[in-house]
């Protein structure tokens, strides 16, 4: 590209001749050329705009800034031969140019304030969560004796999407978990010649722990996130506000059906996961440890107490409440932007899984105290 001459300063006549196109594309070059010129420190300067082919607001801003700087150092500036359009543009830019020097900086607090802010936000969120649970409970009690206001359609819909449609993935996943556990334990059992004990280990670990835990984690990722995103988008679209103005509470139509739907489906999914987990283990026991299906099931029936199944299934409703309430709560926390939906959806899944594991640990402690 050939170098264009945008400005020429004649020291004798104190005349700055501007030419070519003063636009965004050439801005850097014009700036460079302007900065090379030796300016007189006082007196008058004439700026001649006759040769300017076109000027856009970027060019006008540059010229305006230049004139500001010059006039501050005591040089008087006259404009000559500017077209009416350009003059008008310069006037507009000049009027606004003063304010743009005062762009406020975004305040970034220091690390101590940030830690404080973070912790305080957690406390506020906990308070909001408890508040949310309280509101929901009241809503539940209010609707409890009005069966005509129960949202059967919404409930069955939730059961369908969170339960029925999750069957294949849950089955596949728990089957593979069963295979993996049997393989890992089988190695050790074989070296002690205690092959048949695979049944006890598999049965207990899957029914008591892995079934409910794997299912819940899968559902938290699959359903908890969906709850948050759905409710969040609805909130941004003001759909929730619209419901409220029509005298329908979002709690009754959207939140309670989701929570009860999951409350129903998660124990069922856990049972489903138990079946496929044991099947996976049984298959592995046969191929690796030569335990026939008959032996496996025969021993299973005698060795694994019903208690184990009930304990495992009993955890599921608790996990369901955690997933659904966290998912719905985070959805209701969404404010304003798409970014907020993404952030809170992530948060919903992370918190749900975190609290599931915490709850599971608490269960273990309790059960060990009462010798279950």
């Amino acid at each position: 590209m050939d170098v264009k001459q945008f400005t020429a300063f004649d020291q004798k006549s104190r005349r700055l001749t501007c030419s070519e196109e003063w636009n965004l594309l050439n801005l850097t070059q014009i700036k460079k050329q302007l900065s090379k010129i030796q300016w007189p420190s006082s007196g008058d300067i004439t700026i001649d705009g006759a040769a300017i082919m076109s000027m856009d607001s970027a060019g006008a801003l540059l010229l305006t800034q230049f004139m500001h700087k010059a006039s501050r150092s005591g040089v008087k500036i006259h404009l000559e031969h500017f077209t009416q359009e350009t003059q008008h543009l310069l006037d507009i830019v000049q009027k606004r140019a003063i304010s743009i020097t005062s762009i406020p900086k975004r305040k970034i607090p220091n690390w101590l304030a940030q830690i404080g802010r973070f912790n305080w936000d957690q406390v506020i969120e906990l308070k909001d969560y408890i508040n949310f649970i309280g509101v929901l409970s009241f809503e539940f009690l209010r609707l409890l004796f009005k069966p005509r206001q129960w949202r059967w359609n919404a409930l069955t819909n939730v059961i369908d999407t969170t339960g029925y449609k999750a069957l294949p993935i849950i089955a596949l996943l728990s089957f593979m978990i069963g295979v993996v556990i049997a393989y890992q334990m089988g190695n050790y059992l074989r070296s002690y010649g205690a092959n048949i004990f695979i049944v006890n280990l598999l049965g207990l670990s899957i029914l008591r722990e892995f079934g409910p835990l794997i299912t819940s984690i899968m559902v938290a990722g699959r359903t908890g996130s969906a709850f948050t995103a759905e409710l969040g988008i609805m909130k941004i679209n003001q759909e929730l506000d619209a419901l409220r103005t029509m005298g329908v509470t979002p709690a009754g139509l959207l939140l309670l059906p989701r929570i009860f739907g999951l409350f129903i489906t998660l124990p069922l999914l856990t049972m489903w996961a138990d079946i496929f987990g044991v099947l996976g283990g049984m298959l592995m026991a046969k191929s690796m440890l030569d335990i026939s299906y008959y032996d496996f099931l025969h021993r299973f029936q005698h060795e694994i107490p019903l208690r184990s199944l009930i304990i495992g299934l009993g955890k599921a409703p608790v996990f369901a409440l955690i997933i659904a309430s966290v998912g719905c709560f985070q959805g209701m926390q969404v404010k304003g932007s798409a970014e907020s939906v993404g952030k809170l959806t992530t948060r919903s899944v992370v918190l749900a899984i975190f609290f599931i594991i915490v709850a599971d640990a608490i269960f273990s402690v309790i059960f060990s105290k009462v010798n279950l």
Binding site: S57, L61, Q65, I92, A97, G336
Partner: protein, 257 residues
């Protein structure tokens, strides 16, 4: 200096959407430096036409030329060159919600120019000031601003590259009368100083009477009439009469004539 060739030329554009022919035969020419409005009843294909001009939707047949370049067979390089020369204000503003107002406005500059950070900040700030927003709004996020302010911010982003052509989709919808009037003046101001060509889709009768040079009326899949407002309202076509002949239409006509 400025070539007098039309800035947009649309010829025989046809498109079928959802089984209906939304455009049966659209012909429209937009001249350099004019403010043209596209009007028409609901479902007349205004937004579709805009999307076709913006290369967001491809018509089934026909030709659309912008800056003399045919869009139908434009290479990505040509497309990018065209996109650099226009600005768009969307109906829902389409501000990036994760960026502050200043970053939103600076975004096209960052993408399309090689200016240093300071220059970009200043230029973006100038455009924000031009649209009449206070400077302390510059560091806020779109969700923290009112609807009118978001509209102004979106306009600031649309004009930040000093485009030759801007498309405004319902610029005054949802604004209070004062802001809407201010926006009209701003568009006129920008048009006269920067020699902008403005394509507006609007229902706002004040905007139509006050700032447009010509108005194109869409209906029945065609452009039924392109003329200035005074002549357009006299057009006997039943759709046009229905559109402007209501009580509001006549009141606006009385004020401006």
């Amino acid at each position: 200096m400025r070539d007098q060739k039309p800035i947009i030329e649309i010829k025989n554009v046809k498109i079928q959407l959802g089984g209906d022919w939304v455009h049966k035969d659209i012909n429209l020419t937009v001249n350099r430096g004019e403010i043209i409005a596209i009007v028409g009843g609901s479902g007349s294909g205004k937004t579709t036409l805009l999307r076709e001009m913006l290369m967001l939707q491809r018509p089934h047949s026909g030709s659309i030329k912008i800056f003399g370049q045919e869009l139908m067979d434009a290479t990505p390089e040509i497309q990018s060159a065209i996109q650099r020369r226009w600005g768009v204000l969307f109906q829902q503003n389409a501000l990036f919600s994760s960026l502050t107002l200043l970053e939103n406005t600076a975004f096209p500059l960052v993408e399309h120019t090689k200016l240093d950070k300071k220059a970009i900040r200043e230029l973006a700030a100038l455009k924000i000031a031009l649209t009449g927003l206070p400077m302390d709004a510059a560091v806020k996020f779109p969700s923290q601003l009112s609807g009118g302010m978001q509209k102004r911010a979106a306009l600031a982003r649309a004009i930040v590259l000093d485009p030759e052509l801007i498309f405004l989709d319902e610029p005054t919808a949802g604004l209070d009368p004062d802001s809407a009037g201010g926006l009209d003046e701003l568009i006129l101001d920008l048009q006269s100083t920067m020699g902008l060509t403005v394509v507006i889709i609007t229902h706002d009768l004040d905007t139509l009477w006050h700032i447009t040079d010509r108005v194109a009326f869409l209906g029945e899949g065609k452009v039924l009439c392109v003329d200035n407002m005074a002549n357009l309202v006299k057009n006997p076509h039943p759709l046009i009469q229905e559109f402007f002949g209501g009580a509001r239409g006549r009141r606006a006509q009385d004020i401006y004539q």
